[in-house]
């Protein structure tokens, strides 16, 4: 079994309770290890993608663009330009002679055709190698067309997803500060780091609205360029997720003095805590706000809790493995599973930081396995060893779980079911329940064999 673990990766795996916590992370993926990670470009694309009235042009050969064509569930209430996959589709001669000319022509052509509010140009690996001056082309085209044309320095090989988040934040930061903020309420926020998967941001915005808080910009779910331009007029940035947009919040704090707080909308406690934190922030300006926040939570819980109880009955004691992109999400998931009476026995992420993992280790039960930048061999080894009943991850983890006869719940950017907010918790519980209690697991060979062994053991006694 131990064979599944690469010698070089031993210190990227930890079992809580076994010695002092120490976990290596933020490393380059090991060559030949089939990492579940993507690249810098992927990180930028994730963050910027939901800005629905911008043109997103991928400068590079075709694959990078085609594999990111409308794969996410980020919804828009208006324009849907983000769902198209634009590429310069570089050809051999562009690689030899440089792709700047083609980039410029493509930009002019697409801007003319779609009249976007802004354009983002993503630099991919080979653009970095052939040395195209993407920034210069962007400046030139911005001048000609009168819209912001923003280079995103997302060459894939320059690191992992995290660097992509930074590149995206830098790109968006160039937009802020250019819109009119005169009519913005003093009780106002920007929602950062939510991507409106399956319409989740609409759920969250509604809670804030019921509390009397104005949302200036959604960054980036159901995002609009003009909103981001005036985002500096908001009184507070509410930042979800540890990695994706934190940097933007910090830059806005430095430049515009806008404070930020961290939030999570997954699970009951985190959702409620986030609303309370915002209320807390504004309570001096608006004395009634805390009560309204409590009112929202009360109303929602009165509907949710009785229904959750139903699911909990069946799920009590089942074991869960979590492997997600960012570590922050894992915190919320662990808490959410506690509500369902389930036990998290494995937790890991592609891009967690040292602090993330320390915090994780602190809230996990003893014996929980924590992994950084894992791969199919390791994940399958632990799923078996820990006898997991349910796996939470993304598309690439799904076949690992299913092959081992383990229920699976999709929790990444591709999901089409809202999992945030109070109603999201219910959807989540329903999905977990549907998978973990399905009768089909009886027929999976591994489970069948386990049941047989169990029966034989009983007989022997």
């Amino acid at each position: 079994m131990e064979q599944a673990i690469f010698e070089e990766r031993r210190d990227q795996i930890h079992r809580t309770g076994e010695g002092p916590f120490e976990l290596a992370c933020n490393r380059d993926s090991l060559a030949g290890a089939v990492s579940q990670r993507a690249c810098v470009f992927c990180g930028s694309r994730v963050v910027l993608y939901p800005i629905a009235d911008a043109l997103h042009l991928v400068h590079g050969p075709i694959g990078c663009a085609v594999y990111t064509w409308d794969i996410r569930g980020a919804l828009s209430s208006g324009p849907e330009l983000h769902r198209l996959s634009f590429s310069t589709d570089l050809q051999e001669k562009d690689v030899i002679f440089g792709g700047e000319k083609k980039l410029k022509a493509a930009l002019l052509e697409l801007i003319e055709r779609h009249k976007p509010k802004a354009a983002f140009v993503y630099a991919t690996c080979i653009v970095g190698i052939i040395g195209d001056d993407v920034a210069a082309v962007c400046r030139d085209v911005a001048e000609k067309t009168g819209i912001p044309v923003i280079p995103v320095q997302s060459e894939g090989f320059k690191g992992n997803k995290r660097e992509g988040y930074t590149a995206a934040c830098k790109a968006m930061f160039t937009l802020t500060g250019s819109g009119d903020t005169s009519d913005i309420s003093p009780i106002s926020i920007n929602i950062l780091g939510d991507f409106n998967l399956a319409g989740e941001i609409w759920i969250i915005r509604d809670y804030f609205k019921r509390m009397g808080v104005e949302t200036v910009a959604n960054i980036t779910g159901d995002g609009r360029v003009d909103d981001i331009r005036r985002a500096h007029g908001a009184a507070l940035n509410v930042v979800q997720c540890s990695g994706a947009t934190m940097e933007l919040a910090k830059m806005m704090q430095d430049k515009y003095g806008i404070p930020f707080i961290r939030a999570s909308y997954l699970g009951i406690e985190d959702m409620a805590d986030s609303l309370y934190a915002v209320a807390e922030h504004f309570k001096d300006r608006d004395p009634g706000i805390m009560e309204r926040a409590q009112q929202v939570v009360r109303e929602e819980l009165s509907v949710l809790l009785p229904q959750l109880g139903q699911y909990r009955k069946d799920l009590e004691g089942k074991k869960v493995a979590i492997y997600v992109g960012g570590a922050f999400k894992a915190f919320s998931l662990i808490k959410a599973f506690r509500h369902l009476g389930m036990k998290v026995v494995l937790v890991g992420s592609q891009t967690g930081t040292k602090e993330d993992y320390e915090e994780l280790a602190a809230i996990c039960d003893p014996g929980t396995v924590i992994v950084d930048d894992s791969n199919p061999l390791e994940l399958s080894k632990f799923v078996k060893e820990l006898d997991v009943d349910l796996f939470v991850g993304g598309v690439k983890e799904r076949p690992i779980a299913h092959k081992l006869g383990v229920g699976f719940c999709d929790h990444n950017h591709e999901r089409k079911e809202a999992l945030e907010g109070f109603v999201g918790m219910l959807n989540f519980a329903r999905e977990v329940h549907a998978s973990a209690t399905s009768p089909i697991w009886r027929f999976v060979p591994r489970r069948e064999a386990m049941a047989k062994a169990e029966a034989a053991k009983k007989e022997a006694i």
């Binding site: 060559a31 030949g32 083609k102 090989f157 061999l377």
Partner: protein
């Protein structure tokens, strides 16, 4: 050359070259696909492939970072191969380059030669390499280049003559491959299908997670290809300078017959004729009966589909094959489009529709969905035939989409879909007629219960 008037690409109708190579390598027993490049490419392709096949798809990567991108990826390549050897126990490593490593100019054959020398004390796997820059090809080129590389690099000596047939089936579904293998078995010959993803990309539920999924063409069978009665290569489009079959013919005198992907009666007839020619065995009655039933079904169903106007898009080989089928049943292929560019696409479309259509169908290559859509506005199709990626357009135009080929991301069971030979064509025809009937019923104010 491209038929698109535009510089930019919108919603591409093709995938990138190493994806095809990785998938092809997956059809060799004990093989692991290995992309020499940065991590993202491999991960994206895995995700893409997994959502069609719903099977694990481990693709190793040399995971180049900034430093290696500047100073060369050799050390990572070697280290990566050692790692997959030790953890996956692969007997074959299929190394495909990516845009990045092609651009920085890594000399993979040289690096591999060094590797073999450096580690000659270890039991080394076979290492097959293929050059797959995406800026000069599509996933189909990657697929065919990988197949050609397998034949030219692994088949080194003339094998004992055997009653075997080599079949290079092209990118068809696991269900198609199973059907083709049954046919070859019924001809009473041993078959080497290269590559054979029928098992590895459509696995049963098992006791354990397999590091390397079982199934695939064995190394021994690949080596024995030089002693076969002959080869049959499916797919009419020209992709690579020298195909696997042509290579074996040139070096070992193994007769190579090239046919289309056998969809429809005429293309299937050609496939069975090729088999008869190589084996000297007449087509078994079972298939004559299947053919007979198919003709009978064509007759029974022809009026439902007569004159329907279809747009066909996707990979060159499959577009040609589907066009051959549609033309046979009286559906008008009004536009045949592909994202690839290949020398003989138009000529082959003309060939397969000869005698069935008054003139060759309109064909466009090197186009994307924006181009297709623009033209479709005037063409007013009744039907789209192609992979899932045309869905948004079908929805926008309110016409049905008959999903065929790869990728199928918005339906279940793409890997179990049959397209080939009389049996596969039968299923396609039934589906097509039903798609038309369903639409008719839906559109009807009355909703007839008999149609």
């Amino acid at each position: 050359m491209s038929d698109s008037p535009y510089v930019s690409t919108t919603n591409a109708c093709k995938l990138c070259t190493p994806l095809g190579a990785a998938l092809a390598f997956r059809g060799v027993e004990g093989a692991i696909p290995f992309l020499h490049g940065s991590q993202g490419c491999a991960t994206y392709m895995r995700r893409y492939i997994i959502s069609h096949f719903r099977e694990p798809m481990d693709i190793a990567s040399s995971a180049l970072g900034e430093k290696q991108a500047v100073f060369g990826g050799g050390p990572n390549l070697k280290k990566g191969i050692l790692n997959v050897m030790s953890k996956y126990g692969a007997s074959v490593v299929g190394v495909a380059t990516t845009c990045l490593t092609e651009t920085i100019g890594d000399d993979v054959p040289r690096l591999l030669a060094e590797f073999r020398k450096e580690f000659s004390d270890l039991p080394l796997p076979e290492i097959v390499h293929v050059s797959t820059p995406s800026y000069s090809g599509t996933h189909m080129e990657g697929w065919h280049a990988a197949v050609a590389a397998l034949a030219s690099q692994l088949v080194q000596v003339k094998a004992e003559p055997q009653r075997r047939v080599n079949l290079m089936p092209g990118l068809v579904s696991p269900a198609d491959l199973r059907h083709l293998k049954d046919i070859l078995a019924d001809f009473g010959v041993a078959a080497t299908v290269l590559p054979d993803i029928s098992d590895s990309m459509d696995r049963p539920a098992l006791l354990d997670y397999e590091k390397l999924p079982a199934g695939g063409t064995t190394l021994a069978d690949i080596r024995a290809m030089s002693g076969a009665l002959g080869s049959i290569e499916c797919g009419r489009a020209d992709h690579v300078a020298e195909s696997a079959g042509a290579n074996l013919e040139r070096r070992f005198g193994v007769k190579n017959l090239r046919v289309g992907i056998p969809v429809g009666i005429r293309e299937s007839d050609a496939f069975f004729a090729a088999l008869e020619e190589l084996t000297d065995v007449p087509t078994p009655k079972k298939y004559q009966d299947e053919r007979g039933r198919l003709v009978d079904a064509y007759v029974d169903g022809h009026k439902y589909v007569a004159g329907k106007r279809a747009i066909v898009y996707g990979e060159e080989d499959l577009v040609i094959a589907m066009t051959a089928f549609l033309a046979e049943i009286g559906v008008k292929p009004i536009l045949c489009a592909t994202g690839a560019t290949c020398k003989n696409f138009k000529a082959q479309l003309a060939a397969v529709t000869e005698g069935l259509l008054p003139e060759p169908p309109e064909a466009r290559e090197g186009v994307d969905f924006h181009d297709i859509a623009e033209q479709a506005a005037d063409l007013a199709p009744d039907l789209l035939v192609g992979h899932s990626k045309g869905y948004t357009y079908a929805k926008a135009w309110n016409v049905p989409l008959m999903r065929v080929g790869f990728p199928i991301h918005d339906r279940f069971g793409g890997q179990r879909m049959r397209h080939v030979a009389y049996g596969g064509t039968q299923e396609l025809f039934d589906r097509l007629v039903n798609v038309v009937l369903e639409r008719k019923q839906e559109d009807s104010a009355v909703g007839y219960g008999y149609l």
